[in-house]
């Protein structure tokens, strides 16, 4: 055993060289990130300049034709618009509900811990599976929502929630907000707790009303966090594929065909891989714009010491 220890010591000694340790610690993660994040984007740019058959035997050079086709396709423009509507609607609900829950939970009341634990539950259900729960609850014939509405006398027959373009879109927003509102809550709660009590005390002494205290202390302090939420959640909702694929798959008609669903259809229903790569590149450009705004406004990179 002492011999093994000596071998380990020598090995550790050898590995202690500074450049070797950099190679062991930083290089693997950077290589992998390059392989899984940068290379696919380069590949998308490359593939977008070719026409690629389904089985990818031959790539035919077509130049910017895929981009020309995509950008002039009215279905693509409409899908971008729907992504926007879905993102704005869903994020707005998440923001209002999430902040509301945070303001309630921040107060003291019995079972506060229990309520916090319950509030976390929706975030833990896999998104696609949540989609099935939504489809089931809003089922036209057997869904509990229709049954409750009929019993309350609000409607006479079960509504076809997913057959109507407006309710289908609305349900997607509500279901996603049901899951992601807690994301907002967690961020807002952390920010709320970092506001010194002294601010409120000072305002109270100065005679500020409850509403004034909220408007002049709470809201300004939440500005940053609200910006993060709108930007990050906005980007993710804009590109949502999973739950839309499960709940409506773009329907009825193309009422909920967002850009992500459109990209999938181009690739795997029309088998135009080159063109779907062009769609991905366009989405990537939109993401870059969002990221530039993020870095410019919040400078999140300054949170690590990077001299």
């Amino acid at each position: 055993m002492p011999q093994l220890k000596r071998v380990q010591d020598t090995l550790y000694e050898r590995l202690s060289n500074r450049s070797l340790m950099i190679v062991l610690t930083v290089v693997p993660v950077l290589l992998l990130l390059t392989f899984v994040l940068i290379l696919p984007i380069i590949w998308a740019v490359r593939a977008s300049l070719f026409e690629i058959s389904l089985f990818q035997q031959d790539w035919t050079w077509v130049g910017v034709q895929n981009y020309a086709q995509t950008l002039t396709d009215s279905a693509f423009q409409a899908s971008l618009w729907r992504s926007m509507i879905f993102a704005v609607g869903s994020v707005a609900i998440q923001l209002v509900v999430g902040t509301g829950i945070a303001l309630v939970i921040a107060r003291e009341f019995p079972f506060n811990k229990g309520v916090r634990a319950v509030a976390l539950l929706p975030y833990l259900i896999p998104t696609a599976l949540l989609g099935y729960v939504g489809v089931w609850m809003f089922n036209t014939n057997w869904g509990i929502i229709n049954s409750i509405l009929i019993q309350l006398g609000i409607i006479e027959y079960g509504l076809e929630w997913f057959g109507n373009p407006d309710t289908a879109m609305l349900l997607l927003m509500i279901t996603t907000a049901w899951k992601y509102a807690i994301f907002v809550t967690i961020l807002v709660l952390a920010r709320l707790q970092s506001i010194p009590d002294g601010y409120y005390d000072a305002a109270r002494i100065a005679g500020a009303s409850k509403w004034e205290r909220f408007r002049d202390i709470t809201l300004p302090n939440l500005k940053g966090v609200i910006f993060i939420v709108v930007l990050l959640r906005g980007v993710w909702m804009f590109n949502t594929y999973d739950i839309i694929s499960v709940m409506t798959n773009g329907g009825p008609g193309s009422a909920t065909t967002t850009a992500a669903i459109y990209a999938y259809e181009v690739a795997f229903e029309n088998y135009q891989l080159g063109r779907s790569a062009a769609v991905s590149v366009v989405l990537f450009v939109i993401l870059v714009v969002a990221a530039l705004i993020y870095f410019r406004v919040l400078e999140p990179q300054s949170e690590v010491r990077t001299e």
């Binding site: 610690t25 693997p28 950077l30 992500a260 690590v304």
Partner: protein, 300 residues
């Protein structure tokens, strides 16, 4: 018409005054209303969150005639475990579960290992271009799955790792790694280098200080990163759907239950419940770690 006003009883002083209704209540009444309102709000939140979960769970315990009915009862009149029996013994669910587990373990191991080492290296060695790395990592965190899925489909096909565990593991690592690396980078900055320095003075080699001093202290961070990457992999639908179209994980496999003649909603809800359970258990079991090592308020 004109004498209508005189027909009315004279208004009491209370109602004539401009004081809003709220101010007219006594302090005790105000307080009662406030607490009542707060509890009402809390109740509404809790019910809105719990009802869909309750409905999912009870649907999975109902026999078929209680599911395919236009007048479902809120409380099931007949409970059965038949749906779970079907799922576990007479369907492909165990196969989906196995695939999900294999991919998840791969993602957790790769992500946790590389994020921990990388976070350590980025903090302790004076590496150039740190600002660029930081921006790059945060940018990577923003990547949505669909944006990576299609380019990966093309690239993975050429590399021959489409429809493989390895391909899917690597793909999901792309989603989990940036934020994990960010968390570990920030975490190691809170570990004072003086501990390692004094170990070095005592004769320990540089590598040993990392293994025996820094990594044990980083345990809370490592655990939270492991849970985060577990959750990312467990939740993922887009990447497995596109990169593993011929065999399924749970999220993509449930589609098969909807393609039968009658959709077996009780089985689908059972599968949903089983798939959500590990996430519930994990997160609550490790909440202590999550709170100490991982402050979600740090995002961004």
């Amino acid at each position: 018409m004109s004498n209508r006003e005189t027909d009315l009883k004279p208004l009491s002083d209370d109602f004539k005054s401009d004081t809003p209704i709220w101010k007219r209540l006594s302090y005790a009444q105000q307080r009662k209303l406030k607490t009542g309102g707060l509890y009402g709000l809390i109740g509404l939140i809790v019910v809105t969150i719990l009802f869909p979960l309750y409905w999912m769970f009870t649907t999975s315990l109902r026999p078929r005639n209680e599911v395919l009915t236009r007048t479902p009862t809120l409380i099931p009149t007949e409970l059965t475990l038949a749906n779970y029996e079907r799922l576990l013994f007479f369907s492909n669910f165990p196969q989906y579960l196995e695939n999900t587990l294999i991919v998840m373990i791969g993602v957790v191991v790769i992500t946790t290992t590389l994020a921990t080492l990388g976070g350590y290296g980025l903090t302790r060695f004076d590496i150039p271009f740190q600002d660029t790395f930081a921006k790059g990592i945060l940018f990577g965190y923003m990547f949505p799955a669909i944006l990576l899925a299609i380019p990966m489909y093309i690239l993975w096909s050429q590399l021959g790792i489409i429809n493989s565990y390895l391909g899917l593991m690597l793909a999901e690592t792309a989603l989990a790694l940036p934020f994990s690396l960010w968390v570990m980078w920030k975490f190691f900055q809170t570990v004072p280098p003086s501990l390692e320095e004094s170990a070095q003075v005592a004769g320990a080699s540089r590598f040993r200080t990392m293994v025996d001093v820094a990594l044990p202290i980083a345990k809370p961070g490592i655990v939270s990163v492991a849970i985060y990457s577990f959750a990312v992999s467990w939740n993922e639908y887009t990447l497995p759907k596109i990169l593993m179209p011929q065999s399924f994980v749970i999220t993509t496999g449930i589609q098969a239950f909807t393609e039968q003649n009658t959709v077996m909603w009780n089985q689908i809800m059972g599968a949903t419940f089983l798939a959500s359970l590990p996430a519930f258990l994990f997160v609550y079991a490790f909440q202590k770690y999550l709170l100490s090592g991982f402050d979600p308020g740090d995002i961004g």
